[in-house]
């Protein structure tokens, strides 16, 4: 058991897989010499030579190349520096990666991983603070995970690299320096399983990525008012852990869903609709959606604070659900 930073846990997963499997390679902007702008790939270039590559600023082709490299014997792990640039990768994901396993009748698999990080809170502005989870989670054939703890970061990245199909790993700029226990023998964590962060009986809060931490703060605040909130970290955005979701709502009869992306036609809408699909009769109140306000992410702190979801908004939503 070792205390590790989230970024270190990701680094450890990459290192282990690259040692174990010579077909794994890592590429992306500024990831080799510099070790990545968030230092997730630090030291890998020294250890693995040309299996760790700095690339030109060409997200569109890089993603398309990861798709076909993965069809032809390698396991690429591509880093896209900011989730804000994911639109540049979507043609490769939607028109290429999504379709081949099906339309070619199983002739090919595509074991590649696309790592990126999103989210706001540090004044990076409208082009560097978005969480575009919803765009990626919409695509058939592509799994999406969003680890919150260092242990999950390592376990889910290991699982993603070993998966025969494309997996997008959504990280968060404010999680890289968070620390947590990581078992020395931390292996792959099954994709598609949620994690109960804390049990509760009055309301279920389903959150993703950094919003799980805000949900925990909200649960503390609610506890102060005698409200027992269950906090569930979905961990995998696609495919969803329907069992865990239904079981929790069956217990609490009230639900709040939290995702840092925009709410309209967003991931929070999917969660809300899914809960209705699978637990309608258990619901005593409509599912509350908490998401970024429907506008660009502002630069100046007092404005950004209002737009990005936080513990206060989550607690308020829980109270509305219970009202």
């Amino acid at each position: 058991m070792a205390m590790m930073r989230y970024a270190e846990a990701l680094n450890a997963a990459l290192r282990e897989e690259m040692e174990r499997d010579p077909t794994v390679f890592v590429f992306g902007e500024d990831i080799a010499t510099y070790g990545g702008v968030f230092k997730v790939t630090a030291g890998l270039a020294e250890a693995f030579g040309d299996r760790v590559r700095d690339t030109p600023i060409s997200e569109q082709a890089l993603t398309a190349m990861a798709v076909t490299a993965a069809m032809t014997g390698t396991k690429p792990v591509l880093e896209i520096m900011y989730a804000d640039f994911m639109p540049l990768t979507l043609d490769a994901l939607i028109n290429q990666a999504s379709i081949y396993n099906y339309i070619w009748d199983g002739q090919v698999t595509m074991p590649f991983v696309l790592r990126t990080q999103g989210g706001g809170g540090v004044g990076t502005g409208a082009q560097h603070a978005k969480s575009l989870d919803s765009l990626v989670a919409h695509i058939p054939g592509i799994k999406v995970v969003a680890p919150v703890t260092p242990a999950d970061a390592k376990g889910l990245l290991l699982a993603a690299i070993r998966d025969p199909h494309p997996v997008v790993v959504l990280e968060h700029k404010l999680l890289y320096n968070t620390r947590g226990e990581v078992p020395d023998d931390q292996g792959p964590i099954e994709i598609g399983r949620a994690r109960t962060v804390r049990e509760g009986s009055d309301v279920s809060i389903f959150a993703t990525s950094r919003m799980v931490l805000e949900a925990e703060k909200a649960a503390d605040a609610l506890a102060g008012d005698g409200i027992s909130a269950e906090v569930i970290d979905l961990r995998t955005l696609r495919p969803l852990d329907l069992g865990a979701i239904a079981a929790s709502v069956a217990k609490t009869n009230h639900a709040v869903v939290v995702n840092e992306d925009w709410g309209f036609c967003g991931y929070a809408a999917e969660l809300s609709a899914t809960i209705m699909d699978h637990a309608f009769d258990d619901l005593d109140a409509p599912v509350e959606r908490v998401a970024a306000l429907d506008m660009p992410i502002p630069y100046s702190q007092p404005l950004e604070e209002v737009v990005i979801p936080n513990a206060d908004r989550i607690a308020a939503a829980a109270r509305r659900a219970l009202a």
């Binding site: 040309d50 398309a64 190349m65 990861a66 069809m71 390698t74 339309i103 002739q107 090919v108 058939p140």
Partner: protein, 304 residues
Amino acid sequence: IEERLGEMHKAGQTRGPIHRCDGQEAVGVGATAALEQRDYVTTTHRGHAVYIGKGLDPRRVVAEIFGRKTGYGGGRAGHMLVADASQGMIGGNAIVGGSIPAATGMALSIQILREDRVAMAVFGDGAAQTGICHESMNMAGLWKLPVIFLLEHNEYGLTVHHTAQSAVPDLHVRAAGYGMPGVQVDGNDAVAVFQAVAGARARALRGEGPTLIEARTYRVEGFSTSDMGGYQRQEDIDRWKARDPLLVSRAGLAEEADAARIAAVEKDAEDTVVAAFEAALSDPLPEFVPHAPSAPYSNAGGGR
């Protein structure tokens, strides 16, 4: 080479509907003849000549075109997206420009694994204007990837003449911007294409990187069977039809084989094609099968 020529000529006889490549067969056929089975090829919505040249079974190609269970994708892919991984043909791509990073990514894989093969991207003059073409060629030149960029310049992107979509008439000149050699060949002369690709392949295997080959040809048929025409000049069509690759290769063959031999090869090709169509058309259509739990897809339609 007589053998090769016969092969190409034979393959050249094949016809596919939808996005016909009549009059352009020489490019796909000549180019693939210069490759080995282990080499990878990616192509476009207009890939029929390439499919046949890369050794695919005409019957299964036609079956896919007609959405039959026996097609290379079991009818799931369709005419624009045929693939046979066992022949390194992966595959057709109907997103214009898509075949370019596809082959580049395969070449990256080859380089990382230090394998002895190459990847070739076939694409059009319209595709050459896409951003992804630029990004791919820059990386290929930068990393000296074992890839061949075969630009099939047929003067049109759908209905738009190249003078209305490209700032320059000759596209091989762009190779200089990526530190790779750029050559132009007569796209209706299968032998010329064959030689250019063979040279580029040898160069790639030596680790010297990519080559851009601009094969000039002309689309004598409409863009596709849905094309209502009206934007091509008849004199151009006539001029190019007079230089049909089949006539060109027949002439080439005449110097080396006697008329009887040529007739035999042509007859043989015709028979193969007729048989392929007959067989394919009598093949069954696929039935929908739910996805297995291990598949990356689900059987849900949203909701329950």
